[in-house]
Symmetry: D2
Subunit: 148 residues, 4 copies
């Protein structure tokens, strides 16, 4: 799947007194970008939650290479990296859209929970259609990567 | 009721690039202070929610007189100003604990909702015990104010 | 001036456990919308700060009529309401772009500070060109309102 | 150095619609805990910044094992893990103070920048006193770990 990078300006309230975006906000941008990526792939997370599936974050990693400043437009390239029905992995690259400079790289891991019981879900067993859809997105994503 | 002012340091991530606490955070401090005040008065909000009563904010006002800076200790004096079973009003004064200088004044108004139906609750009719408790806190708060 | 309303989706991290956008975030949305409005009017706030003029918030008011939910697209109509060279007033209306329902109304007041000294600025005296530009935007905004 | 764990309640506005603390907030808690740890060790970060040394985050990692909920008291145990004058590494463990259950583990890496030039600082060369102080804290921290 060829997704359009997620793109917006950095807000004033996202800065701190160092004069740059506070690092915890990049973790929030990962979320914004991931949900935008999923939407482009046809998986609208709000619908997933309404259908009873939660996808909480179990792990997150981030390297901060160069700061993003207030009013700067940034872009996030999200990749769906791995998926086995029990966990899903995403990677992120945040760049300044003004300069193209790499600002932040990162990754996140997610599990799936039943919204009612809060117990882990194995999508392959419990939601096979959803498992197939996600697997197809992963394959399309990998093909894209190989071609890039 | 004589409540101890709510007190903590300003966090680094609460500042913005002006080098002061971002104004939206004071609205969050009102919430921290209000829930602390309620707890001191014997009304633990997490228990209220568990019992099925939500208390969302319907209005908020704030004047920013002087900034609070990173690492500064601030104090919030909360007053329970008015209550009629359908709405509750609180007022707030945030001061620098270091200098005593007035930083922010504000107020908030709240209604009560049934957590399941999200419909308004009249506490006087539907939760008379809770209404009496809150009314007693209001009276104690007003007596304190007159004596001050 | 006829500004395009500010528009985006509500982020997941902007919700709280009531299942709606936390009220302090609407104050942040006012800021996003105000800076977008100013940009459309030709006043880019990041350039103002670079030129040494800060525009902090001195007052904010807000009424919460109906909640915005995760993933909902909202629109903010900002109006430049008053300006005298020492203070500027803005008003805001947030609506659900999906239903058109009014969600939040509010207003903010701002002063102007010298970035170096942090002392108040009277734009009329100290930055007459900027004062004229802002006054022209105000007049255009009022004409628009009368015609609406 | 034997530091007292950092401890407070989770705020309402830190939750999201999953009914738990949003994961980006744990990254903020790491910061709160780190600055508290440094203060206990005699290194007050606000004084460092005033003295012209910034300590931005260059990397952060986190595993989310169990959620913290609104109103729950949590504790963060911070360890000063490594330091070479150019970078400093910290690790964190967040536990529910109510149950003792491990909620989040994580680590962060930091560099040192000259506040004026924003260029990297080698503390060993440029601030030898500060380097010695930090090294002594590291040794004390390691001794404590061995004895634990």
């Amino acid at each position: 799947m060829i997704a359009t990078p997620y793109r917006r300006r950095a807000f004033y309230y996202e800065t701190d007194q160092m004069g740059i975006v506070h690092h915890a906000n990049y973790i929030r941008w990962f979320e914004e970008a991931r949900l935008d990526y999923m939407r482009q792939a046809g998986l609208v997370y709000s619908k997933m939650e309404n259908a009873g599936i939660l996808m909480p974050v179990t792990e997150v990693q981030s390297k901060f290479c160069a700061p993003i400043r207030f009013d700067e437009t940034f872009e996030v390239v999200t990749r769906f990296a791995r998926f086995n029905g029990v966990r899903a992995w995403y990677t992120y690259e945040i760049r300044s859209a003004d300069t193209g400079a790499l600002a932040v790289t990162g990754s996140s891991c997610h599990c799936f929970l039943d919204a009612a019981t809060r117990r882990p879900i194995n999508l392959k067993k419990q939601y096979p259609d959803f498992y197939e859809t996600a697997s197809a997105i992963l394959r399309a994503s990998q093909t894209e990567k190989e071609q890039a």
